[in-house]
Amino acid sequence: MPPEKPERFDQVDWTEYANPTGWQRSTNTRYFLYSTVPVLALGLYDWLVVGPREATFVRLGADLGLSGPFQMIGLTHDPAGIDYLFVGTLLLFVWYLLVPLYQNPRMTRYYWTRFKRNRPALGGLGWLFLVFAGGLIGPFVLNTPSQDILTAHQPPAFTSVDEATVPLCVGEVENGRCYGTWEHPLGTDNTGRDVFSSIIHGMTISMQIAFITTSVVAVIGVSVGTVAAVSGGWVDEGLMRVVDIVLSFPTLPFYLLILYSFGASLSMFILVFALFAWGGTARYVRSKALSVSEAEYINESRLSGASTSYIIRRHVIPNTASSIITQLTLLIPVFLLAEAQIAFLGLGDSDVPSWGQLIAAGRTDLAFAPWIVLAPGIALFLTILAFTFVGDALLDALDPEAKTEADR
């Protein structure tokens, strides 16, 4: 370093600057890595130390000598593998989406004003925020709904059913009709589980599916797509042929085959669907990356001496990101729907209280207790609708081509 820094470009003596070879990881990547360490550590601890029937946090509390405080704040949970994955993808989401948005307030504001114009999407975003918050906080606040055959088929608040359909009416009974109560705002199902808290727990499942599958699809799709676009030649050809196969894969029937052979579980569902859903994303990312890498600013950057990996990270991926995000947003409903379908067929993981599971459970009682089907059905419908609306608005708000259209 020179003692006094030149302040004009023609005074710079370039020999004094060491020729940097490697590029430092960006700050966000560093923070992301730091923040995954505790999650990984806890996961390892869970895997190696905690017994199969022990709740992780109870054991952790005991090991750390903090059982008291842990109990006090209600930290007695036993996260499963999928929960660790979920937290990991959430961190990905925070460090690579939320923080960059915060760091670029001008751009964020610009996109936000464009996004805001789409009212339904704004509503959709609100609903998604509710689902997200509910899914994240709900399980810590509400207990897993317990079965009680006596309180089965309770009607939702403000409605009533014939007393005969209810084994034991929790609320008031007037004129032979059982009225709903706030104890079960959305009523109960045929085993007496509270529909409202089932839906809240279903939110967790939905969010897990949404975040994990999308992250896996994003990681595989973006890597394959950019590698194919950047390498070209036979690498490109080969990868695109793989994509062809992935795209031709009949995922749902194939999942049924797997399920038939290995049994059902939510992780298996996420795995199979994520592994066979990235084809479209990869193809899309490739075409976007190709068109971006034809842009002159890529050449400009290369000419200034930037390495290929630098260009990919700083120019190609940021410029394809908006299209990728849009595409992924529109992919999420597909996963949610698939899970619900499988659960509805009774082929899902019966331990997982998903919305599809609830719809399936209520189907036989549809004629006299429609809320069991309607409540989760509408929740599912709204969520898918919200994702679709948001995706559509993002398409308009983030697409640079649409931008020129609007500015014209």
Binding site: P120, L247, S248, L256, P333, A340, A367
Partner: protein, 324 residues
């Protein structure tokens, strides 16, 4: 000439894809425990026999004692020669069972596909022409609703309303009515409606977005300056280029719908088609039939993608056959 060679390559490639997917199913099956063997073992144990012996017998019966590559070759030749085994659950050859169910699936799939392909692009282009008017909002709103409402849920609700409460349609599907008859049309109305609402939204949306781009394209100005009427301009100059991007998504969307939603819809409406057969086979643990239907879905998927490729080459004159 180059065109036919291109098509030839694509057909060949479709076979390769099918081959690879079938191989994957084989790997999967050979990795997993066969339910029928376990069943035999349990049966033997319950009946006081030797479970091990029963397992071996069952394995021999199914040819599982052979070395892996022999089994693989047998498997592949069996599939290639359409000898897909015997369905224990249906008590008939798998191919025959599938063929029989395909008959029912086709009855609602064909009208559904035709309706979707006909109305999706039309409404999409119409909606783009009236962009941001209330008509457009209504159309896109309905498209979004149809697209977002889970099909099986929608089917249940519709069946409840029209079947149970209003009693306009039969609740149980009847296989004894003639294909071309009012009864059949009535009982297929709901499934077709559910599927069309589900699939038309996506196609409509692509058609709307793409044609919105084309209706402001430069060549539309040329067409207008030539004195082309708006109707003709939309029918020829907007519709045609819209078909290019549309052709790349339509097949995918219909296939996804076919593989997923039709299964659900068949289960809900009780149509003894492919989806229902697959489901029943799964429940009845009929390996051959499950495998057979997965294979059939694979074949349909591969053919669908092939059609997509070919349609794309037909609609886009700019495609270079050397590039792909």
């Amino acid at each position: 000439m180059r065109y036919y060679r291109y098509i030839g390559t694509r057909v060949l490639w479709a076979f390769v894809v099918a081959f690879i997917i079938v191989t994957i199913t084989f790997v999967l099956l050979s990795m997993s425990p066969d339910p029928s063997i376990q069943q035999a073992a349990t049966q033997a144990a319950l009946e006081g026999g030797d479970p091990q012996e029963a397992t071996d017998r069952q394995e021999k019966l199914r040819g599982l004692d052979e070395p892996l590559h022999v089994r693989y070759i047998d498997y592949m030749t069996g599939i290639a020669t359409l000898e897909w085994g015997w369905s224990e659950y249906r008590n008939q050859p798998v191919t025959k069972a599938l063929w029989g169910s395909l008959y029912y699936t086709a009855q609602y799939s064909i009208p559904w596909t035709i309706l979707t392909l006909l109305f999706g692009p039309l409404i999409g282009v119409y909606s783009a022409a009236r962009m941001y008017s209330w008509k457009d909002h209504v159309v896109t709103g309905i498209a979004f609703l149809g697209f977002s409402i889970p099909n099986f849920f929608f089917a249940i609700v519709l069946l409840l309303v029209f079947g149970v409460w209003l009693d306009w349609v039969p609740v149980a599907y009847r296989t004894d009515v003639p294909v071309v008859s009012l009864e059949n049309a009535i009982q297929l109305a709901l499934p077709v409606f559910v599927l069309v609402t589900g699939s038309i939204g996506g196609i409509l949306r692509v058609a709307r977005n793409e044609s919105a781009e084309f209706q402001n394209a430069d060549f539309m100005k040329t067409a207008k300056a030539k004195g082309v009427s708006p109707l003709r301009a939309y029918a020829y100059h907007v519709m045609r280029p819209t078909l290019v991007p549309l052709s790349t998504t339509v097949v995918g969307q219909l296939l996804a719908m076919f593989l997923g939603a039709s299964l659900l819809v068949e289960v809900v409406f009780g149509i003894p088609g492919l989806g229902r057969t697959t489901f029943d086979a799964l429940v009845a643990q009929d390996t051959n039939l499950v495998l057979g239907s997965v294979l059939l879905f694979t074949v349909i998927g591969v053919i669908g993608n092939l059609i997509e490729d070919i349609v794309f080459t037909i609609v886009d004159p700019r495609i270079s056959y050397d590039d792909r």
